[in-house]
Amino acid sequence: MTDLLQLPLLLSLTLGERLALMGVVLFVLLTSVAYTVYAERKIAAAIQNRIGPNRVGFDLIPQLGFLKGLAGLGQPIADVLKLLFKEDVVPSASNGFYHLLAPMISLFAALTTIAVVPVAAGLVIADVDIGVLYILAITSLGVYGLTLAGWASNSKYSLLGGLRSSAQMISYEIAMGLSVVSVVVIADSLSMTKIVESQTANPLYWNCFRNFLGFICFVVASFAECNRAPFDLPEAEQELVGGYNTEYGSMKFALFFLAEYANMIVASTVIATLFLGGYQVPFWSDAPWWLQVGAFVTKTLFMMFVFIWVRWTIPRFKYNQLMDLGWRKLLPLALFNLLLIAMGVLIFEA
Protein backbone atom coordinates (compact mmCIF):
# COMPACT_ATOMS: atom_id res chain seq x y z
CA MET A 1 0.00 0.00 0.00
CA THR A 2 1.39 3.32 1.00
CA ASP A 3 5.07 3.88 0.51
CA LEU A 4 5.43 6.08 3.56
CA LEU A 5 9.14 6.59 3.24
CA GLN A 6 8.97 8.14 -0.20
CA LEU A 7 5.87 10.20 0.55
CA PRO A 8 6.96 13.39 2.28
CA LEU A 9 10.70 13.38 1.75
CA LEU A 10 11.97 15.24 -1.27
CA LEU A 11 15.70 15.38 -0.71
CA SER A 12 18.34 12.77 -1.06
CA LEU A 13 19.73 12.59 2.48
CA THR A 14 19.85 9.02 3.72
CA LEU A 15 18.12 7.98 6.91
CA GLY A 16 21.44 7.79 8.76
CA GLU A 17 22.40 11.29 7.67
CA ARG A 18 19.03 12.57 8.80
CA LEU A 19 19.48 10.99 12.23
CA ALA A 20 22.98 12.44 12.52
CA LEU A 21 21.67 15.88 11.57
CA MET A 22 18.90 15.52 14.13
CA GLY A 23 21.44 14.71 16.83
CA VAL A 24 23.59 17.70 15.93
CA VAL A 25 20.64 20.10 15.76
CA LEU A 26 19.22 18.92 19.09
CA PHE A 27 22.63 19.11 20.78
CA VAL A 28 23.22 22.65 19.51
CA LEU A 29 19.69 23.69 20.50
CA LEU A 30 19.89 22.32 24.03
CA THR A 31 23.35 23.70 24.79
CA SER A 32 22.52 27.07 23.28
CA VAL A 33 19.54 27.32 25.63
CA ALA A 34 21.93 27.58 28.59
CA TYR A 35 23.93 30.33 26.97
CA THR A 36 20.80 32.13 25.77
CA VAL A 37 19.89 32.52 29.41
CA TYR A 38 23.36 33.91 30.08
CA ALA A 39 23.06 36.28 27.10
CA GLU A 40 19.65 37.39 28.28
CA ARG A 41 20.98 38.22 31.74
CA LYS A 42 23.94 40.10 30.29
CA ILE A 43 21.82 42.08 27.81
CA ALA A 44 19.23 42.84 30.49
CA ALA A 45 22.04 44.08 32.72
CA ALA A 46 23.34 46.31 29.94
CA ILE A 47 19.86 47.73 29.31
CA GLN A 48 19.33 48.41 33.01
CA ASN A 49 22.85 49.72 33.55
CA ARG A 50 23.93 46.81 35.76
CA ILE A 51 26.82 44.37 35.46
CA GLY A 52 25.05 41.02 35.31
CA PRO A 53 26.52 37.61 36.15
CA ASN A 54 30.28 38.00 36.55
CA ARG A 55 31.38 35.63 39.30
CA VAL A 56 31.25 31.98 38.26
CA GLY A 57 34.27 31.13 36.14
CA PHE A 58 36.13 27.95 35.50
CA ASP A 59 38.60 28.38 38.36
CA LEU A 60 37.97 24.92 39.81
CA ILE A 61 39.42 23.23 36.75
CA PRO A 62 43.14 24.14 36.45
CA GLN A 63 43.30 23.10 32.78
CA LEU A 64 40.81 25.88 31.95
CA GLY A 65 42.88 28.51 33.75
CA PHE A 66 43.26 30.49 30.54
CA LEU A 67 39.53 31.29 30.72
CA LYS A 68 40.07 33.24 33.89
CA GLY A 69 39.29 36.57 32.31
CA LEU A 70 35.88 35.30 31.20
CA ALA A 71 34.32 35.18 34.65
CA GLY A 72 30.56 34.71 34.51
CA LEU A 73 30.65 32.26 31.61
CA GLY A 74 30.34 29.37 34.08
CA GLN A 75 27.03 30.71 35.38
CA PRO A 76 24.70 28.57 33.19
CA ILE A 77 26.50 25.37 34.19
CA ALA A 78 26.23 26.31 37.86
CA ASP A 79 22.52 27.06 37.42
CA VAL A 80 21.84 23.71 35.78
CA LEU A 81 23.71 21.88 38.56
CA LYS A 82 21.73 23.77 41.19
CA LEU A 83 18.42 22.81 39.56
CA LEU A 84 19.50 19.18 39.24
CA PHE A 85 20.32 18.82 42.93
CA LYS A 86 17.16 20.48 44.23
CA GLU A 87 14.45 18.45 45.89
CA ASP A 88 11.50 17.65 43.66
CA VAL A 89 8.47 18.90 45.59
CA VAL A 90 5.11 17.63 44.36
CA PRO A 91 2.15 19.38 46.03
CA SER A 92 0.13 16.76 47.91
CA ALA A 93 -3.20 17.88 46.43
CA SER A 94 -1.88 17.88 42.88
CA ASN A 95 -2.60 15.33 40.21
CA GLY A 96 0.75 13.51 40.09
CA PHE A 97 0.71 12.06 36.59
CA TYR A 98 -0.46 15.24 34.86
CA HIS A 99 1.95 17.23 37.01
CA LEU A 100 4.75 15.23 35.38
CA LEU A 101 3.19 15.10 31.91
CA ALA A 102 2.79 18.87 31.50
CA PRO A 103 6.47 19.88 31.31
CA MET A 104 7.13 16.92 29.01
CA ILE A 105 4.47 18.12 26.55
CA SER A 106 5.91 21.63 26.66
CA LEU A 107 9.42 20.47 25.84
CA PHE A 108 8.19 18.03 23.19
CA ALA A 109 6.33 20.79 21.35
CA ALA A 110 9.32 23.12 21.59
CA LEU A 111 11.86 20.63 20.23
CA THR A 112 9.91 18.90 17.44
CA THR A 113 9.23 22.10 15.50
CA ILE A 114 12.86 22.39 14.42
CA ALA A 115 12.56 19.23 12.28
CA VAL A 116 11.28 21.03 9.18
CA VAL A 117 13.50 24.13 9.36
CA PRO A 118 16.23 24.02 6.67
CA VAL A 119 19.66 24.89 8.05
CA ALA A 120 21.31 25.12 4.63
CA ALA A 121 20.32 24.18 1.08
CA GLY A 122 19.33 20.51 1.37
CA LEU A 123 20.32 20.29 5.03
CA VAL A 124 17.03 19.63 6.77
CA ILE A 125 15.92 16.83 9.06
CA ALA A 126 12.61 16.25 7.26
CA ASP A 127 11.65 18.28 4.21
CA VAL A 128 7.92 17.74 4.42
CA ASP A 129 5.68 19.05 1.63
CA ILE A 130 3.51 20.83 4.16
CA GLY A 131 6.26 22.06 6.47
CA VAL A 132 4.58 25.35 7.34
CA LEU A 133 1.37 23.62 8.40
CA TYR A 134 3.42 21.17 10.45
CA ILE A 135 4.90 24.09 12.39
CA LEU A 136 1.45 25.56 13.02
CA ALA A 137 0.17 22.16 14.17
CA ILE A 138 3.01 21.52 16.62
CA THR A 139 2.99 25.03 18.09
CA SER A 140 -0.74 24.72 18.66
CA LEU A 141 0.01 21.66 20.84
CA GLY A 142 2.36 23.56 23.15
CA VAL A 143 -0.61 25.12 24.90
CA TYR A 144 -1.50 21.76 26.48
CA GLY A 145 1.69 21.82 28.52
CA LEU A 146 0.89 25.14 30.16
CA THR A 147 -2.84 24.50 30.55
CA LEU A 148 -2.27 21.08 32.12
CA ALA A 149 0.42 22.44 34.41
CA GLY A 150 -2.03 25.06 35.61
CA TRP A 151 -4.75 22.52 36.23
CA ALA A 152 -2.68 19.68 37.71
CA SER A 153 -0.96 21.89 40.30
CA ASN A 154 -4.30 22.41 42.06
CA SER A 155 -3.44 25.97 42.99
CA LYS A 156 -5.44 29.04 42.10
CA TYR A 157 -2.47 30.98 40.74
CA SER A 158 -1.48 28.09 38.50
CA LEU A 159 -5.04 27.63 37.28
CA LEU A 160 -5.33 31.32 36.39
CA GLY A 161 -2.02 31.11 34.55
CA GLY A 162 -3.18 28.01 32.66
CA LEU A 163 -6.49 29.61 31.66
CA ARG A 164 -4.73 32.77 30.53
CA SER A 165 -2.24 30.82 28.44
CA SER A 166 -4.90 28.79 26.62
CA ALA A 167 -6.95 31.89 25.77
CA GLN A 168 -3.87 33.85 24.73
CA MET A 169 -2.40 31.17 22.51
CA ILE A 170 -5.67 30.43 20.71
CA SER A 171 -6.21 34.15 20.07
CA TYR A 172 -2.78 34.82 18.63
CA GLU A 173 -2.68 31.62 16.59
CA ILE A 174 -5.21 33.14 14.21
CA ALA A 175 -3.13 36.21 13.41
CA MET A 176 -0.07 33.96 13.14
CA GLY A 177 -1.80 31.59 10.75
CA LEU A 178 -3.03 34.42 8.53
CA SER A 179 0.41 35.98 8.25
CA VAL A 180 1.83 32.55 7.38
CA VAL A 181 -0.79 32.28 4.63
CA SER A 182 0.51 35.52 3.09
CA VAL A 183 4.02 34.00 2.99
CA VAL A 184 2.63 30.86 1.37
CA VAL A 185 0.81 32.93 -1.25
CA ILE A 186 4.07 34.62 -2.25
CA ALA A 187 6.12 31.43 -2.31
CA ASP A 188 3.36 29.35 -3.95
CA SER A 189 4.34 26.39 -1.78
CA LEU A 190 3.92 25.03 1.73
CA SER A 191 7.41 23.54 1.87
CA MET A 192 9.94 25.41 4.00
CA THR A 193 12.77 24.84 1.50
CA LYS A 194 10.73 26.27 -1.36
CA ILE A 195 9.75 29.27 0.75
CA VAL A 196 13.43 29.98 1.36
CA GLU A 197 14.26 29.50 -2.32
CA SER A 198 11.48 31.87 -3.37
CA GLN A 199 13.15 34.67 -1.40
CA THR A 200 16.36 34.46 -3.51
CA ALA A 201 19.74 35.80 -2.49
CA ASN A 202 18.75 39.41 -3.05
CA PRO A 203 17.86 40.85 0.40
CA LEU A 204 15.25 43.14 -1.19
CA TYR A 205 13.22 40.06 -2.10
CA TRP A 206 13.18 38.72 1.45
CA ASN A 207 9.74 38.53 2.93
CA CYS A 208 10.49 41.05 5.68
CA PHE A 209 10.49 43.71 2.93
CA ARG A 210 8.11 42.20 0.39
CA ASN A 211 5.63 41.28 3.10
CA PHE A 212 6.34 43.88 5.75
CA LEU A 213 2.95 43.87 7.50
CA GLY A 214 2.95 40.07 7.60
CA PHE A 215 6.41 40.17 9.16
CA ILE A 216 5.22 42.52 11.92
CA CYS A 217 2.12 40.40 12.58
CA PHE A 218 4.09 37.18 12.71
CA VAL A 219 6.77 38.54 15.03
CA VAL A 220 4.21 39.98 17.46
CA ALA A 221 2.18 36.77 17.37
CA SER A 222 5.24 34.63 18.01
CA PHE A 223 6.16 36.79 21.01
CA ALA A 224 2.70 35.95 22.32
CA GLU A 225 2.98 32.26 21.44
CA CYS A 226 6.28 31.99 23.30
CA ASN A 227 4.74 33.67 26.37
CA ARG A 228 7.58 36.16 26.40
CA ALA A 229 7.23 39.66 27.79
CA PRO A 230 5.32 41.86 26.97
CA PHE A 231 2.94 38.90 26.66
CA ASP A 232 4.05 36.89 29.70
CA LEU A 233 0.65 37.05 31.39
CA PRO A 234 0.51 33.29 32.08
CA GLU A 235 3.45 33.66 34.46
CA ALA A 236 3.07 37.29 35.52
CA GLU A 237 5.14 37.31 38.72
CA GLN A 238 3.57 40.36 40.31
CA GLU A 239 -0.02 39.14 40.12
CA LEU A 240 0.14 35.35 39.77
CA VAL A 241 3.30 34.58 41.77
CA GLY A 242 4.65 32.44 38.94
CA GLY A 243 1.56 31.50 36.99
CA TYR A 244 1.42 27.98 35.65
CA ASN A 245 4.81 27.02 37.10
CA THR A 246 4.17 28.23 40.66
CA GLU A 247 4.08 24.68 42.04
CA TYR A 248 7.04 23.40 40.07
CA GLY A 249 10.58 22.96 41.27
CA SER A 250 13.77 21.11 40.53
CA MET A 251 14.02 19.23 37.21
CA LYS A 252 10.38 19.76 36.27
CA PHE A 253 10.82 23.50 36.55
CA ALA A 254 14.03 23.15 34.57
CA LEU A 255 12.06 21.42 31.81
CA PHE A 256 9.63 24.35 31.62
CA PHE A 257 12.53 26.75 31.62
CA LEU A 258 14.23 24.76 28.89
CA ALA A 259 11.01 24.66 26.87
CA GLU A 260 10.53 28.42 27.16
CA TYR A 261 14.00 29.22 25.85
CA ALA A 262 13.92 26.43 23.26
CA ASN A 263 10.62 27.94 22.06
CA MET A 264 12.28 31.31 21.74
CA ILE A 265 15.20 29.90 19.73
CA VAL A 266 12.94 27.82 17.50
CA ALA A 267 10.63 30.80 16.92
CA SER A 268 13.69 32.81 15.89
CA THR A 269 14.73 30.12 13.40
CA VAL A 270 11.20 30.04 11.97
CA ILE A 271 11.08 33.83 11.62
CA ALA A 272 14.52 33.76 9.98
CA THR A 273 13.33 31.08 7.56
CA LEU A 274 9.97 32.57 6.65
CA PHE A 275 10.88 36.25 6.58
CA LEU A 276 14.63 36.85 6.62
CA GLY A 277 15.61 34.62 3.71
CA GLY A 278 16.56 31.59 5.78
CA TYR A 279 19.94 30.22 4.76
CA GLN A 280 20.33 32.61 1.82
CA VAL A 281 23.63 34.49 1.83
CA PRO A 282 23.09 38.05 0.52
CA PHE A 283 24.07 38.43 -3.16
CA TRP A 284 25.58 34.93 -3.41
CA SER A 285 23.00 32.40 -4.46
CA ASP A 286 25.26 29.32 -4.54
CA ALA A 287 27.38 29.91 -1.45
CA PRO A 288 29.08 26.87 0.16
CA TRP A 289 27.00 25.11 2.80
CA TRP A 290 29.01 26.29 5.80
CA LEU A 291 28.48 29.91 4.76
CA GLN A 292 24.75 29.23 4.45
CA VAL A 293 24.70 27.73 7.93
CA GLY A 294 26.55 30.83 9.11
CA ALA A 295 23.99 33.15 7.49
CA PHE A 296 21.16 31.15 9.04
CA VAL A 297 22.73 31.25 12.51
CA THR A 298 23.42 35.00 12.21
CA LYS A 299 19.81 35.73 11.32
CA THR A 300 18.58 33.52 14.16
CA LEU A 301 20.89 35.24 16.65
CA PHE A 302 19.61 38.62 15.47
CA MET A 303 15.99 37.58 16.06
CA MET A 304 16.90 36.20 19.49
CA PHE A 305 18.46 39.54 20.35
CA VAL A 306 15.21 41.25 19.30
CA PHE A 307 13.26 38.87 21.56
CA ILE A 308 15.47 39.77 24.55
CA TRP A 309 15.55 43.45 23.69
CA VAL A 310 11.75 43.68 23.56
CA ARG A 311 11.39 41.79 26.83
CA TRP A 312 13.53 44.24 28.75
CA THR A 313 12.15 47.44 27.22
CA ILE A 314 8.37 47.02 26.95
CA PRO A 315 6.23 46.57 30.09
CA ARG A 316 3.64 43.82 30.32
CA PHE A 317 0.17 44.32 28.83
CA LYS A 318 -2.99 44.12 30.89
CA TYR A 319 -5.22 41.19 30.01
CA ASN A 320 -7.86 43.29 28.23
CA GLN A 321 -5.14 45.07 26.26
CA LEU A 322 -3.74 41.71 25.22
CA MET A 323 -7.09 40.52 23.88
CA ASP A 324 -7.73 43.90 22.27
CA LEU A 325 -4.39 43.79 20.45
CA GLY A 326 -4.92 40.22 19.28
CA TRP A 327 -8.50 40.43 18.04
CA ARG A 328 -9.07 44.08 17.13
CA LYS A 329 -5.67 45.06 15.75
CA LEU A 330 -3.52 42.11 14.68
CA LEU A 331 -6.33 40.05 13.14
CA PRO A 332 -7.69 42.83 10.86
CA LEU A 333 -4.13 43.85 10.03
CA ALA A 334 -3.22 40.29 9.02
CA LEU A 335 -6.40 40.00 6.92
CA PHE A 336 -5.73 43.33 5.22
CA ASN A 337 -2.15 42.26 4.54
CA LEU A 338 -3.34 38.97 3.04
CA LEU A 339 -5.64 40.89 0.68
CA LEU A 340 -2.79 43.22 -0.25
CA ILE A 341 -0.37 40.36 -0.89
CA ALA A 342 -2.91 38.41 -2.93
CA MET A 343 -3.55 41.49 -5.12
CA GLY A 344 0.17 42.05 -5.48
CA VAL A 345 0.76 38.47 -6.57
CA LEU A 346 -2.08 38.72 -9.10
CA ILE A 347 -0.74 41.97 -10.57
CA PHE A 348 2.97 41.17 -10.70
CA GLU A 349 2.91 37.51 -11.61
CA ALA A 350 0.12 37.50 -14.17
Binding site: M1, T2, D3, L4, L5, L7, P8, Y98, D129, I130, L133, Y134, L136, A137, S140, L141, V143, Y144, T147, L148, G150, W151, L159, G162, L163, S166, A167, M169, I170, E173, L190
Partner: protein, 174 residues
Amino acid sequence: METVSFILFSFLGALVMVGSIGTVWSRNPVTSALFLVLNFFALGGIYLLLEAQFIAVVQVIVYAGAIMVLFLFTIMLLNLDDEQALKEKFDLQKGFGILLGGVLLVEVLYILGLKINLPQKSTTLTPVEIGEAKNIGRELITNFLFPFEIVSILLLLAVVGAIVLAKKNFSPNT
Protein backbone atom coordinates in the same frame (compact mmCIF):
# COMPACT_ATOMS: atom_id res chain seq x y z
CA MET B 1 6.65 -1.90 2.38
CA GLU B 2 3.38 -3.68 2.95
CA THR B 3 4.63 -4.96 6.28
CA VAL B 4 5.58 -1.46 7.36
CA SER B 5 2.18 -0.02 6.56
CA PHE B 6 0.43 -2.98 8.22
CA ILE B 7 2.41 -2.48 11.42
CA LEU B 8 1.76 1.26 11.30
CA PHE B 9 -1.94 0.70 10.75
CA SER B 10 -2.19 -1.78 13.62
CA PHE B 11 -0.30 0.53 15.95
CA LEU B 12 -2.28 3.63 15.05
CA GLY B 13 -5.56 1.73 15.05
CA ALA B 14 -4.81 0.44 18.55
CA LEU B 15 -4.02 4.00 19.66
CA VAL B 16 -7.31 5.24 18.18
CA MET B 17 -9.22 2.57 20.07
CA VAL B 18 -7.38 3.19 23.35
CA GLY B 19 -8.05 6.89 22.93
CA SER B 20 -11.74 6.54 22.26
CA ILE B 21 -12.33 3.92 24.97
CA GLY B 22 -10.50 6.15 27.42
CA THR B 23 -12.63 9.09 26.35
CA VAL B 24 -15.97 7.46 27.03
CA TRP B 25 -14.86 5.43 30.04
CA SER B 26 -12.75 7.64 32.32
CA ARG B 27 -14.36 9.36 35.30
CA ASN B 28 -12.42 12.58 35.06
CA PRO B 29 -13.39 14.95 32.21
CA VAL B 30 -9.79 16.18 31.87
CA THR B 31 -8.61 12.60 31.35
CA SER B 32 -11.39 12.16 28.81
CA ALA B 33 -10.26 15.25 26.94
CA LEU B 34 -6.63 14.13 26.88
CA PHE B 35 -7.56 10.65 25.64
CA LEU B 36 -9.54 12.36 22.90
CA VAL B 37 -6.43 14.37 21.94
CA LEU B 38 -4.49 11.10 21.70
CA ASN B 39 -7.27 9.72 19.54
CA PHE B 40 -7.12 12.72 17.19
CA PHE B 41 -3.36 12.41 16.93
CA ALA B 42 -3.57 8.76 15.99
CA LEU B 43 -6.31 9.53 13.47
CA GLY B 44 -4.01 12.13 11.95
CA GLY B 45 -1.46 9.35 11.51
CA ILE B 46 -4.08 7.16 9.85
CA TYR B 47 -4.89 9.98 7.43
CA LEU B 48 -1.18 10.07 6.57
CA LEU B 49 -1.39 6.33 5.85
CA LEU B 50 -4.27 7.18 3.51
CA GLU B 51 -1.96 9.71 1.86
CA ALA B 52 -4.19 12.62 2.81
CA GLN B 53 -1.45 14.89 4.16
CA PHE B 54 -3.49 18.06 4.22
CA ILE B 55 -6.41 16.55 6.08
CA ALA B 56 -3.99 14.99 8.57
CA VAL B 57 -2.43 18.33 9.43
CA VAL B 58 -5.78 20.14 9.49
CA GLN B 59 -7.02 17.42 11.84
CA VAL B 60 -4.22 18.14 14.29
CA ILE B 61 -4.45 21.95 13.95
CA VAL B 62 -8.23 22.23 14.23
CA TYR B 63 -9.16 19.30 16.48
CA ALA B 64 -6.17 18.93 18.77
CA GLY B 65 -5.04 22.55 18.60
CA ALA B 66 -8.31 24.45 18.80
CA ILE B 67 -11.41 22.39 19.61
CA MET B 68 -9.88 20.34 22.41
CA VAL B 69 -8.27 23.42 23.95
CA LEU B 70 -11.78 24.92 24.06
CA PHE B 71 -13.05 21.78 25.78
CA LEU B 72 -10.23 21.85 28.34
CA PHE B 73 -10.84 25.55 28.86
CA THR B 74 -14.52 24.94 29.59
CA ILE B 75 -13.77 22.03 31.93
CA MET B 76 -11.30 24.11 33.90
CA LEU B 77 -13.49 27.21 33.93
CA LEU B 78 -16.41 25.26 35.39
CA ASN B 79 -14.08 23.22 37.60
CA LEU B 80 -15.72 19.96 36.58
CA ASP B 81 -12.81 17.72 37.46
CA ASP B 82 -14.76 15.85 40.12
CA GLU B 83 -17.36 13.78 38.38
CA GLN B 84 -18.09 11.66 41.44
CA ALA B 85 -20.41 14.54 42.28
CA LEU B 86 -22.55 13.54 39.32
CA LYS B 87 -24.20 10.48 40.82
CA GLU B 88 -24.58 7.56 38.45
CA LYS B 89 -28.29 7.06 38.78
CA PHE B 90 -29.12 5.38 35.52
CA ASP B 91 -27.51 1.96 35.52
CA LEU B 92 -30.26 0.95 33.15
CA GLN B 93 -29.17 3.66 30.79
CA LYS B 94 -25.59 2.39 30.80
CA GLY B 95 -26.77 -1.12 30.00
CA PHE B 96 -28.91 0.23 27.21
CA GLY B 97 -25.94 2.20 25.87
CA ILE B 98 -23.74 -0.89 25.77
CA LEU B 99 -26.55 -2.81 24.08
CA LEU B 100 -27.21 -0.17 21.45
CA GLY B 101 -23.51 0.49 20.72
CA GLY B 102 -22.84 -3.25 20.53
CA VAL B 103 -25.80 -4.01 18.26
CA LEU B 104 -24.82 -1.18 15.96
CA LEU B 105 -21.22 -2.37 15.83
CA VAL B 106 -22.27 -5.94 14.98
CA GLU B 107 -24.63 -4.62 12.34
CA VAL B 108 -21.99 -2.46 10.66
CA LEU B 109 -19.41 -5.26 10.81
CA TYR B 110 -21.94 -7.66 9.26
CA ILE B 111 -22.62 -5.26 6.38
CA LEU B 112 -18.89 -4.85 5.85
CA GLY B 113 -18.56 -8.63 5.85
CA LEU B 114 -20.89 -8.83 2.85
CA LYS B 115 -18.01 -7.39 0.76
CA ILE B 116 -20.08 -5.19 -1.51
CA ASN B 117 -17.83 -4.04 -4.32
CA LEU B 118 -17.41 -0.34 -4.63
CA PRO B 119 -17.68 1.17 -8.10
CA GLN B 120 -14.09 1.87 -9.14
CA LYS B 121 -14.01 5.28 -10.69
CA SER B 122 -11.36 5.89 -13.28
CA THR B 123 -9.59 9.14 -12.59
CA THR B 124 -6.47 10.95 -13.62
CA LEU B 125 -5.47 11.70 -10.04
CA THR B 126 -3.04 9.51 -8.12
CA PRO B 127 -3.75 8.97 -4.41
CA VAL B 128 -0.95 11.36 -3.44
CA GLU B 129 -2.39 14.10 -5.63
CA ILE B 130 -5.78 13.75 -3.95
CA GLY B 131 -4.30 14.64 -0.61
CA GLU B 132 -2.24 17.59 -1.83
CA ALA B 133 -3.07 21.03 -0.48
CA LYS B 134 -2.89 22.56 -3.96
CA ASN B 135 -5.51 20.26 -5.44
CA ILE B 136 -7.78 20.66 -2.44
CA GLY B 137 -7.57 24.44 -2.77
CA ARG B 138 -8.33 24.31 -6.49
CA GLU B 139 -11.28 22.03 -5.94
CA LEU B 140 -12.53 24.29 -3.16
CA ILE B 141 -12.94 27.32 -5.41
CA THR B 142 -14.22 25.47 -8.47
CA ASN B 143 -16.41 22.41 -7.93
CA PHE B 144 -17.07 23.07 -4.26
CA LEU B 145 -17.55 26.82 -4.40
CA PHE B 146 -21.14 26.74 -3.19
CA PRO B 147 -20.53 24.55 -0.12
CA PHE B 148 -17.46 26.67 0.56
CA GLU B 149 -19.55 29.85 0.69
CA ILE B 150 -22.25 28.15 2.77
CA VAL B 151 -19.65 26.92 5.24
CA SER B 152 -18.18 30.39 5.57
CA ILE B 153 -21.63 31.81 6.38
CA LEU B 154 -22.10 28.98 8.86
CA LEU B 155 -18.79 29.82 10.54
CA LEU B 156 -19.83 33.46 10.78
CA LEU B 157 -23.11 32.40 12.35
CA ALA B 158 -21.29 30.16 14.80
CA VAL B 159 -19.01 33.02 15.84
CA VAL B 160 -21.96 35.38 16.32
CA GLY B 161 -23.96 32.68 18.12
CA ALA B 162 -21.13 31.80 20.48
CA ILE B 163 -20.60 35.46 21.37
CA VAL B 164 -24.32 36.09 21.94
CA LEU B 165 -24.65 32.97 24.09
CA ALA B 166 -21.56 33.73 26.09
CA LYS B 167 -22.44 37.38 26.69
CA LYS B 168 -26.06 36.96 27.71
CA ASN B 169 -26.51 35.69 31.21
CA PHE B 170 -29.62 33.52 31.29
CA SER B 171 -29.88 33.54 35.07
CA PRO B 172 -33.42 33.16 36.46
CA ASN B 173 -33.33 36.54 38.23
CA THR B 174 -32.99 38.68 35.15
